[in-house]
C-alpha cells in the first residue's frame, strides 16, 4: 500500500506492506542505507533512528505504526549534539568495522539531548542496547564525555 512518511524533513511516498519494519522501508525503499540491520529483534541497536526526536529501533517498528511521526536517520541528524558527537567520534578514532556506529551515534546524540553532562551510569543506561562486536565501548564512552564537554564550552 502507498504511504506518506516524513523522513529527514521531507515527505516521501512509499509503496510497502503494512507490516514492513521502518528499517527496511528506509533502506530498501528510500535508499537510506546508513541505518543498519543487525538483528531484526531490537537487541543490537544498529537500526536506531529518531521518531519524533526519540531514539527507536527501526527493525521492529511496523511502518503502519509510524503514523504521522517524523523520522530522523543518520543521514539527516543535525544540530549541536550531533556535530559534537560526530566530531568526538572522529577525534577519538572510535569506529573499527564501523557497522554499528550509525546506531551508536544516534543513541549518543539522543542521550546528550536529554542529559547535558551524562555520568558513566547514564551512558551505561543509554547505550547498553547498542552492541559493538569490535568492542569499541571504551572509546564510545570517552567520546560521549568529550562531546558533553565540547557542548558545555
Amino acid at each position: 500500500m502507498a504511504l506518506a512518511i516524513k523522513v529527514n524533513g521531507t515527505m516521501q511516498s512509499v509503496d510497502v506492506d503494512n507490516d514492513a519494519p521502518l528499517l527496511w522501508v528506509l533502506r530498501d525503499a528510500l535508499g537510506l542505507a546508513g541505518t543498519k540491520f543487525g538483528c531484526g529483534v531490537a537487541q543490537c541497536g544498529a537500526c536506531t533512528v529518531f521518531v519524533d526526536g526519540k531514539p527507536m529501533r527501526s527493525c521492529t517498528l511496523p511502518i503502519s505504526a509510524l503514523g504521522t511521526r517524523e523520522v530522523t536517520t543518520i543521514e539527516g541528524v543535525s544540530g549541536r549534539e550531533a556535530e559534537a558527537v560526530q566530531q568526538a567520534w572522529i577525534a577519538r578514532d572510535v569506529p573499527q568495522c564501523g557497522y554499528c556506529q550509525s546506531g551508536q551515534v544516534m543513541s549518543a546524540v539522543a542521550l546528550l539531548k536529554q542529559i547535558k553532562q551524562p555520568s558513566d551510569r547514564d551512558i551505561d543506561l543509554a547505550m547498553n542496547g547498542n552492541v559493538c562486536r569490535c568492542a569499541t565501548y571504551a572509546r564510545i564512552r570517552a567520546a560521549i564525555h568529550d562531546a558533553a564537554r565540547a557542548l558545555e564550552g
Binding site: G38, I90, P95, C97, N128, R133
Partner: protein, 727 residues
C-alpha cells in the same frame, strides 16, 4: 614437529616471495593487459601517476593507496597507507585508501601465496612491500622534478607532499609532477629510510588519524548490505535446522503468494527466496514448508560430544610436541595436579551478517562483498558459473566485522552467492543476505574442545606437564590442509599448546582429532582461543600449588622466552603488581600469550558480581615489533579484550540433538558497554619486524579473568563460558 607456529607455517606457503617485489613494477603494456587493469583504469585522467599496483597520485595531490587486505575494523587501510606515506614523504591529510581488486599476481598475501587476510599478517607481510612501493613513487617524483628544474635529483628534498630544491628555491607539490613522474623509468631498488628518521611510522601524537573514521561516523561508509542496483533481487536462503541435512521436498506456494516475492528455487544449501527487497524475502521464507532429509545430519548434543571428548582425552593422542619424558616423570612426581577444560562452540557474530552481491550476464560476473580470501572466492564463483577466472571481477567491500567468519577455506558464501545467481539465471543481479538467525545457527563455529592437563610437582617446582587436546580439525578438507595439517596434526588445534614459554624439563602435548558434522572455522586468534586459556589457567594453578607468585613464578620459568617475559614485566609495572589479592573484594589475574608472533600480557582486576564475575580493569602490554600505528594497536588490544571478555563470560552455541540453541543476540549473549572494563595499554618499544595485532589481544583475557576468579574463592573455572561455571 618442526613447524613452530601457525603464522610460521602459513608463511611456509609463500612461493617466490623474493620475485614479488620486483614483479610489482609493471611496464605500461603489461598493466593494460593485466587483470589489475581495473586498478589502473581508475587512475583516470592523463595527469595521474600510477607507479605500481598500490599507488595512484592525482593532479589534485591526492595519494590513493590500494589496500590488498580487507578492512573490517582491524586497521589495514590506515596501517598499509602509513607504510606507503612514510617512504613517499606524503602529506597524511592527502592520503586515501581503497580496496585493491581481486588479483592474486599483484595482491597476494606474501605469507599465504594467495590473496587473503588472516593470521594477523596484514602489516607483517606488507611492511617491506608497501614501503618499497612508496619509495619507488617518491624516486620517480623526484626524478621528474629534477628533470623539470634541471637540478640533480640528490639535491631535492621531499616533505609532506612537497618537493623542494633549496639551491634554486624551487618547490612543487606531488600533483604538479604526477604526469611527468609517470614517464620516468622505474627504479629497481629505491633506498628505504632508516627507522630513526621515520615521521609517520610509530608516530603517537594523534596526527596520523585513521582514514575511515569520518565515513564510519556519519553513515556514508558503504557495506555489502547497502548495495542497490536496478533490477536487483534480494535473496534469503532457508538452511537446514541440523548440519548435514538436505532438502527432501518443499512447498513454496504460500511463499510465492507473499507480495514482493519473485521466485523460489532449490539450491545446494537449501531453498532460496528471491524478492524485491529484504522484508518480502524474509516473510516469504517464513511461509516455506520444507521437508528435510536428516539421514546424514549431525544429531549429537553438546553435552554428548563433551562426554565423548572427555573419554578420548583419557587416552594418549598423536604427539604434537614433546621433550623429555613427561609420562615417567609424572609417575614419579611428589604430587600430580589434573585439570580438564571444556570449551563450547562459538559463533563469530560479526555485526554485519554474511552477504554478497553478484551481477552475471552469462559471460561475465561482477561480485562485490566482504571477501577475506579473494583468490579462493574468485575461483569458486568462476567454477559455479562455468566461467574462466578472467571473466569474473571480485570487488572487496568494507565488512561489518569478521573475527574469522569471512575467511572461508570452503568459500561457502561465495558458492551460495553464485548458486543463487545461477538458479535464477543471467541478467538478474542478486544480493544474498543472511539474517542474524542464519548467522548464529549457521555453523562454521570455533570448535568445541577439551583439554586434559596433568602437572607434576617436585621440590616446589613444576617438573612435568602433559596436555591432551581433543578437537575437530579446522583445516581438514581445505586447500590449507596440506601445508598446515602435516602428519595428522592440525596446527591450528595445538598452536600455543604444543610448545609453551615455560622451562619444564618433561613436556608432552598430544591431539585427538574428531569427526563431527558441525562445520568449524577459525575464530579470532584460532587455536589460542582455547590453548591460551588451558595453558595460562593451568600454570597459574600449579604456581599457586607450589606457593609461587603468578608474575614472579612465570618469570622464573621464562629463561628462553625473553619477549614473553618482557611484556609480563611491562604489564606488572603498568598495573603496579603487588600480588593477586584479593584486596577490598577485588582480585587480579595474570596471563601472557604469544600468538601470531606478537606477545601480549594482561592483568585483569575482577570482583564477584551478582550475575557472575565483574571485570573492572585490564592492564595490557603488547610487543608487536616496530609499532606502525600505536593508536590502532591500542584499539585492537581494547577491542580484543572486550571481544574476549564477552566470549569468556557468556559465549556458547550449545547443540540440542544437533540443533543450535541460540538464534539471536537475545540468546547468544555478547558484551555490552556496561560490562566493558577500563583498559590501559602499553605498547612496548621494539625494533623487531612488525607483527599483527588483530588477534593477539584476545587470548590472555579469558585466563586472566579466570585466574582472578580463583583468587576470589570462586574456584578454578573448568568449563566455559565462565558465567556457567559460577552459576
Amino acid at each position: 614437529m618442526t613447524t613452530h607456529d601457525v603464522a610460521l607455517s602459513r608463511r611456509a606457503m609463500l612461493k617466490g616471495a623474493a620475485g614479488l617485489v620486483i614483479g610489482l613494477y609493471l611496464p605500461e603494456k603489461a598493466r593494460a593487459q593485466s587483470g589489475a587493469a581495473h586498478a589502473f583504469r581508475r587512475a583516470a585522467g592523463g595527469a595521474d601517476f600510477a607507479p605500481n599496483a598500490f599507488i595512484r597520485i592525482g593532479a589534485d595531490d591526492t595519494v590513493t593507496v590500494l589496500i590488498k587486505h580487507i578492512e573490517f575494523g582491524q586497521g589495514p587501510f590506515t596501517g598499509l597507507a602509513t607504510l606507503v606515506a612514510e617512504e613517499l614523504d606524503a602529506d597524511w591529510s592527502k592520503v586515501r585508501a581503497e580496496h585493491a581488486p581481486s588479483n592474486t599476481d599483484f595482491y597476494k598475501n606474501l605469507a599465504f601465496g594467495v590473496q587473503g587476510t588472516g593470521g594477523s599478517t596484514a602489516i607483517a607481510n606488507s611492511y617491506d612491500q608497501m614501503r618499497k612501493a612508496g619509495a619507488t613513487a617518491r624516486a620517480m617524483l623526484v626524478a621528474a622534478a629534477a628533470q623539470s628544474w634541471g637540478v640533480p635529483a640528490r639535491e631535492i628534498t621531499v616533505e609532506r607532499g612537497v618537493l623542494r630544491h633549496t639551491g634554486t628555491g624551487r618547490e612543487g607539490r606531488f600533483g604538479q609532477f604526477a604526469e611527468a613522474a609517470a614517464r620516468q623509468p622505474v627504479p629497481a631498488d629505491p633506498p628505504l629510510k632508516d627507522p630513526s628518521v621515520f615521521r609517520l611510522i610509530g608516530r603517537d601524537d594523534g596526527s596520523v588519524k585513521k582514514l575511515d573514521s569520518a565515513a564510519k561516523s556519519n553513515g556514508t561508509a558503504q557495506f555489502t548490505i547497502d548495495m542497490r542496483e536496478p533490477g536487483m533481487l534480494t535473496v534469503v536462503v532457508a538452511h537446514p535446522p541440523r548440519f548435514g541435512a538436505r532438502v527432501a521436498s518443499f512447498d513454496a506456494s504460500a511463499a510465492r503468494a507473499v507480495q514482493g516475492v519473485v521466485d523460489v528455487k532449490q539450491v545446494p544449501t537449501g531453498v532460496a527466496v528471491y524478492a524485491n527487497g529484504t522484508w518480502p524475502a524474509i516473510k516469504g521464507r517464513e511461509q516455506l514448508r520444507i521437508s528435510w532429509d536428516e539421514s546424514a545430519a549431525e544429531k549429537r548434543s553438546s553435552d554428548q560430544l563433551i562426554e565423548e571428548y572427555r573419554a578420548l582425552a583419557r587416552r594418549p593422542g598423536r604427539i604434537a610436541g614433546a621433550h623429555g619424558d613427561a609420562i615417567t616423570t609424572l609417575a614419579r612426581a611428589e604430587r600430580i595436579i589434573e585439570a580438564e577444560y571444556v570449551f563450547p562452540y562459538l559463533a563469530h557474530a560479526p555485526m554485519e551478517p554474511l552477504d554478497g552481491f553478484l551481477g552475471w550476464d552469462g559471460q561475465r560476473a561482477h561480485a562485490r562483498f566482504g571477501s577475506q580470501l579473494q583468490t579462493l572466492d574468485h575461483q569458486t564463483i568462476a567454477t559455479v558459473l562455468g566461467l574462466k577466472p578472467e571473466q569474473v571481477e571480485l570487488e572487496t567491500m568494507l565488512a561489518g566485522g569478521s573475527f574469522g567468519r569471512r575467511a572461508q577455506q570452503t568459500s561457502h558464501l561465495a558458492a551460495e552467492l553464485a548458486e543463487v545467481t545461477k538458479a535464477i539465471g543471467p541478467g538478474r543481479p542478486v544480493k544474498l543476505v543472511w539474517t542474524r538467525e542464519d548467522d548464529i545457527r549457521g555453523g562454521y563455529y570455533r570448535p568445541l574442545i577439551v583439554h586434559r592437563m596433568r602437572g607434576g610437582l617436585g621440590d616446589g617446582k613444576i617438573v612435568a606437564w602433559t596436555d591432551t587436546v581433543v578437537s575437530q580439525s579446522i583445516l581438514k578438507g581445505s586447500p590449507f590442509e596440506a601445508v598446515m595439517a602435516k602428519g595428522g596434526i592440525d596446527a591450528t588445534s595445538v598452536e600455543g599448546a604444543k610448545e609453551i614459554p615455560y622451562d619444564i624439563a618433561d613436556f608432552r602435548c598430544d591431539l585427538h582429532t574428531t569427526d563431527v558434522g558441525v562445520p568449524v572455522l577459525w575464530w579470532r586468534s584460532v587455536g589460542h582461543t582455547h590453548t591460551g586459556y588451558a595453558v595460562e589457567c593451568f600454570v597459574d594453578e600449579l604456581l599457586q600449588a607450589t606457593g609461587q607468585d603468578p608474575v614472579a613464578g612465570r618469570l622464573a620459568m621464562m629463561g628462553k622466552a625473553p619477549r614473553e617475559a618482557g611484556v609480563l614485566r611491562a604489564v606488572a609495572e603498568l598495573a603496579q603488581w603487588s600480588g593477586p589479592g584479593p584486596v577490598n573484594g577485588r582480585a587480579r589475574g595474570v596471563a601472557v600469550v604469544k600468538s601470531f608472533d606478537s606477545y601480549v600480557a594482561q592483568i585483569a582486576e575482577v570482583s564477584a558480581g551478582d550475575d557472575g564475575p565483574r571485570v573492572h580493569k585490564v592492564w595490557c602490554a603488547v610487543d608487536c615489533g616496530v609499532p606502525v600505528n600505536p593508536d590502532v594497536i591500542r584499539a585492537q588490544m581494547e577491542g580484543g579484550i572486550g571481544f574476549g571478555v564477552g566470549a569468556a563470560l557468556y559465549g556458547e552455541v550449545a547443540l540440542d540433538e544437533g540443533r543450535p540453541v541460540p538464534a539471536n543476540f537475545d540468546t547468544y549473549r555478547v558484551l555490552r558497554i556496561h560490562e566493558m572494563p577500563q583498559v590501559e595499554v602499553r605498547v612496548v618499544n621494539s625494533s623487531e619486524k612488525p607483527t599483527g595485532v588483530g588477534e593477539p589481544g584476545v587470548p590472555p583475557i579469558g585466563p586472566a579473568v579466570a585466574n582472578a576468579m580463583a583468587r576470589l574463592g570462586l574456584g578454578r573455572p573448568r568449563r566455559l563460558p565462565l558465567v556457567r561455571a559460577v552459576a
